[in-house]
């Protein structure tokens, strides 16, 4: 073994504008000026160079974003449960209560759908980046062998000298 390296494919597309806003407020800005661009109802990190100064931002932003998205869903689910169970909310008229319930239910459904689509998109991002890695290895003269083991993609690259 010559060396062992740990790395991470960073997700670059984020769907929820509220969570993006909250994460940007909390995440220290990138010292090298990496920002998110708004395109086609998504927020995209244009990660186009290997400037090491981007690293912290690229590590922090997706983590904080995911945390905010989870918190948002959790809050809505709690509100939904409160509406059903909490007697303090009896002050609501039945009509108001029903309207609020429908609104929260819709919002949860929308967020869950959005999160699912986002995760699918991240999965596609990872697959396409893995494919680029394999192509680069082939160009460098390596013979790749790709297999799926316990949900992990394992690529064995061999170059005869």
């Amino acid at each position: 073994m010559s060396c062992r390296i740990r790395a991470k494919i960073i997700p670059c597309q984020f769907f929820n504008s509220d969570c993006v806003k909250m994460a940007l407020e909390e995440c220290p800005p990138c010292p090298a000026g990496l920002t998110l661009q708004s395109r086609e109802n998504k927020f995209i990190v244009d990660y186009i160079d290997d400037n090491r100064a981007h690293q912290k931002f690229l590590e922090n932003f997706p983590r904080i974003y995911n945390q905010k998205a989870d918190e948002m869903l959790e809050r809505l689910r709690r509100e939904q449960a409160d509406l059903k169970e909490n007697s303090a909310l009896a002050a609501f008229s039945e009509e108001d209560r029903r309207r609020k319930e429908i609104k929260i239910k819709r919002e949860i459904k929308r967020l869950e759908k959005e999160r699912k689509a986002e995760q699918e998109e991240h999965k596609k991002e990872i697959e396409s980046k893995v494919e680029i890695m394999v192509q680069r290895a082939k160009t460098a003269g390596f013979v790749p062998k790709k297999e799926l083991i316990n949900g992990k993609v394992r690529i064995q690259l061999v170059r005869r000298l």
């Binding site: 010559s2 060396c3 062992r4 390296i5 740990r6 160079d49 000298l161």
Partner: protein, 70 residues
């Protein structure tokens, strides 16, 4: 015949673990960086004794190992 090997494992969250074999010195990290460039960020690098070997030392040592196995 000598060979250079790189094993890459990627999980569903995009976490990558890479191990190289038979690639001498800084070329080992340079090779991996070339593969990962603009696709992933490196969080940790661990170099072994083989990393610090000169190419000739590495070849000599592997040759001796091969002979002792015969």
């Amino acid at each position: 015949m000598m060979s250079e090997e790189i094993t890459i494992e990627i999980d569903e969250n995009g976490e990558i673990f890479i191990e190289t074999n038979g690639i001498k010195g800084p070329a080992c990290i340079a090779q991996v960086e070339e593969l990962l460039k603009e696709l992933a960020i490196v969080s940790d690098t661990n170099k072994s004794d083989e990393y610090y070997m000169e190419n000739s030392t590495l070849v000599r040592q592997k040759d001796m190992l091969r002979r002792s196995q015969k």
